[in-house]
């Protein structure tokens, strides 16, 4: 009997291709396989904020704060409580009894060393773009951490929710820091076969195992991450039981998966207009573009499902103003274009509707549709184009001052509002100094400078006022918030989070 089972297991093993990708492990708790669209570029802790890094790293390294998946409120992770003691100083009371995977105890000294390293402007890790003013951390006593900002930053805790804390032992060892992440998290790094997989195993020393505010449990003993750029293959692996979870698949593929979870995201698809260009500098032309685009069609027929929006951040964010999306009204749009033309604006000049290849699913189709819609309303010079990532980024992030006047891009891009605070989006997309801004307006600058120093209700009000202002000016046309589609097998029980993190501690497996 036993031999028979073993033999059939062997046959099965041979048929289904060995055990490398087999999710169902019998010994020592559940195993899951997660098929990600891309491999992390690095396992350095700073990469725990990015789309390629967070699915793995956010399980290994932890931040001072987390977000409650239901209410989206900031909740304790490595810090138990925090308060702002003056304009530029914040104090965090740290959790006791926490150790890093390498045995180093977690305390204020360790947290300060690691935070200062990760946020050091000299290191210039890309995640710093999420941080505001320069930050200096120092230990007050063993479990009290002081964080000072170079200028007032009312949303420091929101920012620090993005910054995970690596073992201070790694700070001086750049090789290990890039490839062998060591944190305090529920899962410890086991191995990385580049191009193939990353394996994490449950950390037996995890503080959360006997804590009631850990917001999760270690039901899963081992997680294997594999990288499948092709959505069809990721989705197929669920049906063939090679993977338990496949994020970022199309809505059709998700519907066909054993279990489909779809969730609104923190991402917004936007069309940014080059306002230095004389044609796009005309508010009527910009408003016409906003009216000409059938946003519902773009979101639901092309981009795989999502809500249309009137602002570049969604409901969860501070500064959300609940604005109606611009209606699809080509007739009114054509009138506006005609008005502009009557005033001498050259509406037949070239406009390039452009997107970055591969980043937004079916972006090339979306830009074709939009350029056709612009031609419909009389902007007859509209054409469409896609560019590969590096070339696109080089021209996208040059800032308002460097955009040539003869460039007339209507750029389709996805904007992440992970900070859940509209100020970051304004700074990036609307202010004169914003890296991704193609707009500069003194009125807005004043409102913005005022708003960033505020907090709580006052901040909500000040930021919402800016939202209403740019709604009229339309330097950026908000299109919609795409849904994230997660396909899963029946054995996994998990609910996606709004921030997109895939936390193993929130996942359970039934055999």
């Amino acid at each position: 009997m036993v031999a028979g089972l073993a033999a059939s297991a062997l046959v099965l093993g041979a048929c289904s291709g060995g055990d490398a990708d087999e999710p169902a492990g019998e010994a020592g708790g559940a195993e899951v396989t997660i098929a990600l669209p891309e491999e992390p570029r690095t396992l350095a802790s700073w990469n725990a904020y990015s789309n390629d890094g967070h699915p793995v790293l956010r399980n290994v390294t932890e931040a001072l704060l987390n977000r409650d998946p239901d209410s989206n409120e900031l909740v304790p992770e490595l810090a138990l409580e925090w308060e702002q003691i003056d304009d530029t100083n914040w104090q965090f009371t740290l959790r006791e009894g926490v150790t890093f995977h390498d045995g180093t105890p977690f305390n204020a000294e360790a947290a300060a060393t690691s935070l200062n390293f990760v946020l050091d402007p000299e290191n210039a890790f890309p995640m710093r773009t999420f941080l505001g003013p320069d930050v200096t951390a120092s230990a007050v006593d063993e479990y009290t951490l002081n964080v000072e900002t170079a200028s007032p930053d009312p949303i420091l805790p929101t920012r620090l929710y993005f910054v995970t804390i690596p073992s201070p032992e790694q700070v001086d060892d750049s090789d290990a820091y890039e490839t062998n992440p060591i944190g305090t998290g529920p899962y410890a790094f086991e191995s990385w076969n580049r191009g193939q997989n990353i394996v994490l195993t449950a950390n037996e020393e995890w503080w959360g195992a006997d804590s009631d505010d850990a917001m999760g449990e270690q039901d899963i003993a081992q997680a294997t991450y594999v990288f499948r750029p092709e959505t069809e293959v990721r989705a197929g692996m669920l049906s063939s039981n090679e993977a338990d979870l496949a994020p970022r698949i199309t809505s059709e593929q998700c519907d066909a998966a054993p279990v489909c979870e779809s969730t609104p995201t923190v991402e917004t698809v936007v069309l940014r207009l080059d306002t230095p260009n004389p044609v796009l500098a005309d508010q009527r032309v910009r408003e016409a573009i906003a009216l000409a685009i059938d946003k519902d069609q773009i979101m639901n027929d092309i981009l795989g499902g999502g809500e249309t929006v009137g602002q570049i951040v969604g409901p969860g964010a501070v500064g959300y103003a609940d604005l109606e999306p611009y209606p699809y009204d080509p007739d009114r749009a054509a009138e506006l274009v005609a008005e502009a033309e009557a005033d001498g604006v050259d509406v037949t000049a070239p406009i390039t509707v452009i997107a970055r290849e591969g980043f937004i699913l079916r972006a090339s189709e979306a830009v074709q549709v939009i350029s056709a819609e612009l031609q419909e309303i009389g902007l007859t010079g509209a054409t469409s184009e896609t560019q590969e990532t590096a070339a696109f980024e080089e021209q996208w992030t040059i800032g308002y001052d460097n955009i040539p006047e003869d460039r007339a891009w209507a750029g389709l891009q996805q904007h992440g509002q992970e900070l859940m605070d509209y100020a970051g989006s304004i700074g990036g997309y609307y202010s004169c100094d914003g890296q991704t801004s193609a707009y500069c307006d003194p009125t807005l600058e004043d409102m913005y400078a005022e708003a960033v120093t505020t907090s709580d209700d006052e901040r909500q009000e000040a930021l919402a006022a800016i939202a209403e202002y740019v709604y009229e000016e339309v330097p950026v046309v908000p299109i919609g918030q795409p849904n994230f589609n997660f396909g899963m097998t029946e054995r996994v029980d998990w609910t996606p989070r709004m921030d997109g993190f895939i936390l193993l501690k929130e996942m359970t497996v039934t055999e």
């Binding site: 041979a14 048929c15 289904s16 291709g17 060995g18 490398a20 990708d21 570029r41 690095t42 350095a44 402007p121 000299e122 210039a124 890790f125 890309p126 710093r128 773009t129 750049s174 090789d175 890039e178 490839t179 580049r194 191009g195 193939q196 594999v226 990288f227 499948r228 750029p229 092709e230 069809e232 293959v233 197929g236 692996m237 049906s239 063939s240 039981n241 090679e242 590969e388 990532t389 590096a390 980024e393 992030t397 890296q435």
Partner: protein, 353 residues
Amino acid sequence: MVLRYVGKRLLHAVLVLASVLVAVWFVVNAIGDPARLILPPSASQQLYLDTRESMGLNDPILVQFWRSLSGWLTGDFGVSVWQNVPALPLVLERLPATLLLTAVTLGVAVPLALALGVVSALRPEGPLDRTLTTISLAGVSIADFWLGLMLILVVGVQFQLLPTSGYGGLEYAVLPAAALALRPLGRLAQVSRSAMVEEMQKPYITTLRAQGMPEHTIVRKHALKNSLIPIITVGGDEIATFLNGAVVIETIFAWPGVGGLFIQAIERRDLPLVTACVFVIASMIIVVNLLIDLTYLWIDPRTALTETRRRRAPWSRSSRKDRSASTTSQPGPESSGSTPMAAAGRDSTGGAR
């Protein structure tokens, strides 16, 4: 004579490799500022200037070039900008996957193509020949990415006979190799058919038949070997394509080969990694070409003789064809007069690229 031929080939190989690297270095340094590429957009101007200084980008271009050159001689291609680890090991760890996929694909395609070609050629224009020609034409015409996805969906997802994707044992190589094998299979089958048909009409075959030699011995011992030159030429070309990376198939099947890495490096403007990829791929192609030249030598020892007499560019495909052409003018019972066919085989199928 033979040693001299091989020695010249090796010397050429080194020269080709060196000129490829030099060309890539200058192109790569012309298209972007490496310091800007390494730093995130948020980096300050001061940090940018410091980085330029520490990377030695302020030195004269020849000094920079000399530094890279001395790095190459010790196998140091710099640190990958994207992954922040030394570039060459990143490429080398992808090499086994590429070689495995190439070996499995051609291991299936070449013997099968030869068999199909020979069977077709024995009765040219017969029903079997027509059927096989149709099949091989279909082989060169079907898009490999479509076939790959269909194989995944049918064999991997629907019937779950093989893993859909990934890298592991030989079973993981079956589907990507099947998707890849069809084109070289079709192409080589067509070439070997033409070559064999041509060969079988040669006077020396008639002589051998008249002497009473059995047909299978004629095919095996004489005709096949003599028709190998065009087949090997096209086969070598196919190998080079695979070593360059079967990028699309690698991406679909998440096969960790060199090609996928190369494309990612280019997309991310990771110059050290691009250079390391070029070095590895060029080296492999040069080795393959060297082996092919030695195979010519084995098939037709006169290659070395004509080669030393006639100085020609060694690496272009045309020179290979010319070389086999030059052998045809020599009289003899086993003259390999297959060159027009080699050209014809290429022309009729080359369009599939």
